[in-house]
């Protein structure tokens, strides 16, 4: 019997090539999408899962209260880890982890490499595997360096027999290689090329011993018998006990299992993170699969006239209904399996492009039991979902009716079919609408006035003793003729500065203690950036080392008082500053915040870490970079020239949103494509159903246009119903998504209209093929068939 079903299926597939292609290709798109999304979701969910102690590893974060709001930082006092290690028995290991970029040099080979200064427990916590050397080596050598296998190969061409050799860091100090460790997988939260002892890092850094200074990451591993609540409570208490900040800064535990997906905090409480995208894309995968399955159902039931005869004959010849149900389920299973096999090839084909979009290196592993199980699961899900309606609907046909010749609209079936088309288009319209909203929101944030001109602006990293020659460097850069101005800043303008509280001024309310960002700049920084001085003046060119002059942003000035604040004094600890200028606010850190945070600038160019160079208009970028690199190589020969365009760094801050934008574009396109396959098939079916009516109308004088209208109007009604249903759902979803942006767009009417027009246009375009074909059919041919 099974063989008989297969024969019918395969011969039917070849006989109705058009339907088969629409059906299978719709499923292929659905399964391919779902598989790609699965690979991404799997990768996201597997983050940090490769660490055997993952269930006991935590990072200590600090909740810091400023002006009634709690901010959560991955920054703790340097002394926290060692103290906890001594005082809290539930903690098995602790390590501090300070990420740094250093120029690592071996002879002629010199590269900037990311690394971290860690305590010895780090190796135990993260079960680091030594390929060469050992943990004992590491422990016994404070000036040792451990490098990854990849780094070893980059410098030495091999990872063997290099223990004991030296690498120079930042052209200053030699570190002896004490070990080579296995490269960590891509999907872990720790990224480093080298590790060095925290003991060497903390030498001379007294501030690491202060409880009031939060500048170190601290990680711990609990012992297996530890009570989480006890440790958590100890972590919460220890900072307030050692400071006099009345508990406004305290530690919290953040499990490694949440580092990647649940790292967002609001008012001191975990409130999601990337997990929202994992959920979102899983739902999208499911919706696309359902759209593809609906296609299958619709096309199968639309072919019911052709299949009815077979059903009738089989029933007359003795087939039970269950046989037919099984037959149709087998058909959907076989078709879905064919689609799944084709999808695997598509996934392999598309994976490199997909990886490029999402910035990962995902791989499909055909021997991986999880991958096989998921693919099988998708096949079973699609088979059941696609097969259920045709199986129960077609098998319900009564042979008496069929053998008389089944005609007409078959009442309930038409209703369900139309309902399914509506479901497909509702999903498609939501995707289209979402794409429009995401695109507009990203454009809105990107195009916002962030308070300075970010175009034609290069940030150059200051390394070594460059600042000693900064006047020469500045002049040589200006002499290239391509640079308009040069400014210095201690921090990357797009990120935070030295953030802190404890500022006071005359008239400040007692409990008002805002978080202020401090930056050290030179007198050229403000004009170079295009930041406007709205009151007072800029710094003088030659700063006095004991200068107490500061420039503040408008939001800070507003905190001090209405009217001019020039000449007012600001105090912090023992320092007194005098406000000489007020500049406009500019956005830093999170670009989607509504208002920029307050900033205080000190005229302190010797603390600069970045040179900002404003390129003159219409200068060829390549030539500018070459000219800048020549100047840098001349004045800082031992450090490779490292630069970035501020605009590129700015754009990279929207990585997640741009990923959502790109993927929602693709999913909208695919969803509408699959839906159109279904619509195309249904239009063909309707034309077939209405062939007699079309013929009679043509005989009576109808022209092609009126026939096309006749066939299109029913579908147009379905699309309009879909629009009516989709719009409130889409509004709900997207206004919820927009909530996460303080600086956001308002959803406006044209977005709904555009989504609706796109859906109508695409649907009508699809239907028109079949409608025109039907309208042009020779009536004599149909009459002969009748």
């Amino acid at each position: 019997m099974f063989k008989n079903y297969l024969k019918i299926l395969i011969r039917g597939l070849f006989k109705n090539k058009g339907y088969s292609v629409l059906n299978i290709f719709g499923l292929v798109i659905g399964i391919t999408c779902a598989s790609l999304i699965f690979l991404w979701v799997e990768n996201e969910l597997d983050y940090n899962k490769s660490f055997p102690n993952k269930d006991y590893i935590y990072k200590i974060l600090t909740n810091q209260e400023y002006n009634g709001e709690i901010y959560t930082f991955d920054a703790t006092p340097g002394i926290l880890g060692p103290t906890l290690s001594e005082e809290e028995p539930g903690i098995k290991y602790t390590t501090r982890f300070n990420e740094e970029e250093r120029l690592v040099t071996l002879g002629e080979k010199s590269f900037y490499k990311n690394g971290a200064y860690v305590d010895d427990d780090f190796y135990s916590i993260f079960s680091i595997q030594f390929i060469e050397g050992s943990i004992e080596n590491v422990k016994s050598n404070i000036n040792g360096i451990v490098i990854t296998k990849k780094t070893a190969q980059q410098y030495f061409g091999t990872y063997k027999n290099i223990v004991g050799k030296n690498l120079k860091l930042d052209n200053k100090k030699y570190y002896k290689i004490t070990g080579v460790i296995a490269d960590l997988p891509d999907n872990v939260s720790l990224h480093f090329d080298w590790l060095a002892s925290f003991k060497s890092y903390e030498l001379g850094k007294e501030y690491l011993k202060y409880w009031g200074n939060n500048s170190t990451s601290t990680m711990i591993q609990l012992s297996k018998k530890a009570n989480f609540n006890t440790v958590s409570s100890a972590v919460k208490k220890i900072i307030p006990e050692n400071t006099d900040n009345e508990g406004r800064t305290y530690g919290i535990l953040h499990s490694i299992n949440d580092w990647h997906l649940r790292s967002s905090f609001k008012n001191g409480v975990q409130n999601g993170g990337r997990i929202i995208y994992v959920h979102l894309f899983s739902i999208i995968a499911l919706i696309i699969l359902i759209i593809a399955c609906i296609n299958f159902m619709n096309l199968a039931t639309a072919r019911s006239v052709k299949r009815a005869n077979e059903v009738g004959v089989r029933k007359v010849l003795g087939s039970k209904r269950i046989h037919l149900i099984v037959q149709f389920f087998i058909e959907s299973f076989v078709l879905t399996s064919i689609a799944a096999i084709i999808s695997v090839f598509f996934v392999l084909l598309l994976l490199p492009q997909f990886n490029q979009i999402i910035g990962k290196n995902l791989q499909i592993e055909l021997a991986n039991p999880i991958h096989i199980a998921v693919l099988a699961g998708i096949v079973i899900f699609c088979s059941i979902l696609s097969g259920c309606y045709p199986a129960f609907y077609l098998s319900s046909f009564k042979p008496v009716v069929i053998l008389k010749g089944l005609k007409g609209n078959q009442g309930g079936a038409t209703f369900i079919r139309n309902g399914l088309v509506v479901v497909q288009f509702v999903a498609s319209i939501i995707f289209i609408f979402s794409t429009i909203v995401v695109y507009t929101q990203i454009k809105h944030v990107k195009d916002r006035d962030i308070g300075y001109n970010k175009s034609n602006l290069v940030a150059i990293n200051v390394k070594g003793d460059l600042l000693k020659n900064i006047d020469v460097v500045r002049q040589e850069m200006l002499n290239t003729g391509m640079i308009e101005n040069i400014g210095l800043n201690s921090y990357n303008i797009l990120n935070g500065g030295y953030n802190g509280s404890g500022y006071s001024w005359e008239g400040k309310p007692e409990k008002f203690d805002p978080l202020i960002s401090m930056r050290f700049i030179d007198s050229e920084f403000i004009p170079t950036m295009g930041i406007k001085i709205i009151d007072g003046r800029n710094f003088y060119k030659k700063p006095n080392e004991n200068s107490i002059e500061v420039i503040i942003t408008a939001s800070f000035a507003k905190m001090i008082g209405n009217g001019s604040v020039i000449g007012k004094l600001i105090r912090r600890d023992k320092n007194v500053f005098e406000v000489v200028g007020v500049v406009n606010d500019f956005v830093y850190g999170n670009m989607s915040i509504k208002k920029a945070g307050p900033i205080i600038f000190l005229n302190y160019p010797s603390k600069a870490s970045y040179i900002y160079a404003r390129i003159k208009d219409n200068m060829p970028v390549n030539k500018v970079i070459t000219a800048l690199s020549v100047v840098m190589k001349k004045n800082s020969p031992s450090f490779p020239f490292k630069y970035s365009f501020v605009e590129d760094t700015f754009n990279s801050k929207f990585k997640n949103e741009m990923l959502i934008e790109k993927l929602s574009q693709w999913f909208a396109l695919l969803a509408i494509l699959i839906s159109c396959f279904g619509l195309f098939g249904l239009a063909a079916y309707t034309a077939e159903q209405k062939s007699k009516e079309i013929t009679i109308r043509k005989v009576l004088g109808a022209n092609v246009k009126s026939i096309v209208n006749l066939l299109s109007q029913d579908f147009l009604k379905l699309i309009i119903i879909s629009i009516i249903i989709a719009i409130p759902i889409a509004w709900l979803i997207m206004s919820n998504w927009l909530q996460k942006f303080a600086y956001r767009i308002n959803i406006s009417w044209w977005m709904y209209a555009l989504a609706a027009l796109i859906a109508i246009f695409i649907a009508m375009f699809t239907i028109s093929f079949q409608a025109i074909k039907a309208a042009r059919t020779n009536p004599a041919k149909t009459l002969r068939t009748e």
């Binding site: 008989n4 005869n309 029933k315 003795g318 039970k320 053998l403």
Partner: protein, 231 residues
């Protein structure tokens, strides 16, 4: 074999109720060849469908080989029909995707017959219907007469006691029509009971008895032996 008493069948739509069969009483004995005639819409096909257990009567009794059929569920009717009744339709109703051989084999598959046995039976019946050389062809590759011979082969392959033919020559030219009628006559002479619905006077002459229906009622019944003998 067939005992029908006071059979009624009505079809109800939203607005009207149509009485397709009205108190029909009919007996068909084993080995008989009965033709059912009448104008379009008189209830011929409805009667045939009820006899073939494809449909249930609204009222009355229908006994097939002693079993009361009226009121049986679809699955029970299917069970009783399997192997006992063969159907021949005007429009052949072959499955397009199956070859001649596979179409004829289908009823035997539902009877769960072994493959070797099925093969033997199908081969035999195709030879008998003079269509053996076409066993690997698909229906659309055959002429109308050939397709109807395949349909008859499929109807008889399970050796049913009864063959129901609904205008079996309706889609055929006279030559092929005669061939089909001769085949049915042959089957009848071998003992198969045949009930045939027809519009054709010529075809009705092949039957032993002609039942005339009008407005859902049997209006006349006539014996036909002499006429048939002269054809």
């Amino acid at each position: 074999m067939i005992v029908i008493k006071n059979l009624k069948k009505s079809f109800r739509t939203e607005e009207v109720e149509t009485l397709a069969l009205n108190k029909v009483t009919l007996t068909v004995t084993e080995g008989e060849f009965v033709a059912v005639m009448g104008p379009s819409g008189c209830g011929k096909s409805t009667l045939l469908n009820i006899i073939g257990m494809l449909d249930n009567p609204t009222e009355g009794s229908y006994k097939f080989a002693g079993h009361e059929v009226s009121g049986l569920k679809e699955s029970q009717r299917t069970q009783l029909r399997k192997g006992n009744i063969g159907f021949v339709f005007q429009s052949f109703n072959l499955i397009d995707e199956l070859t001649v051989f596979e179409n004829v084999e289908l009823p035997l598959i539902y009877l769960k017959m072994k493959k070797s046995e099925r093969r033997e039976k199908v081969k035999m019946v195709l030879e008998r219907m003079k269509i053996g050389h076409r066993e690997k062809h698909f229906p659309h590759q055959l002429s109308g007469g050939q397709q109807q011979r395949v349909a008859i082969a499929r109807a008889v392959v399970s050796n049913p006691k009864l063959i129901l033919a609904d205008e079996p020559t309706g889609n055929l030219d006279s030559k092929n029509g005669t061939e089909v009628m001769n085949l049915l006559t042959e089957l009848n002479q071998e003992g198969t009971t045949i009930v045939m619905v027809t519009h054709s006077d010529r075809d009705s002459h092949y039957a032993h008895r002609v039942v005339n229906l009008f407005d859902g009622q049997i209006v006349t019944e006539s014996q036909n032996r002499e006429i048939r003998a002269t054809i």
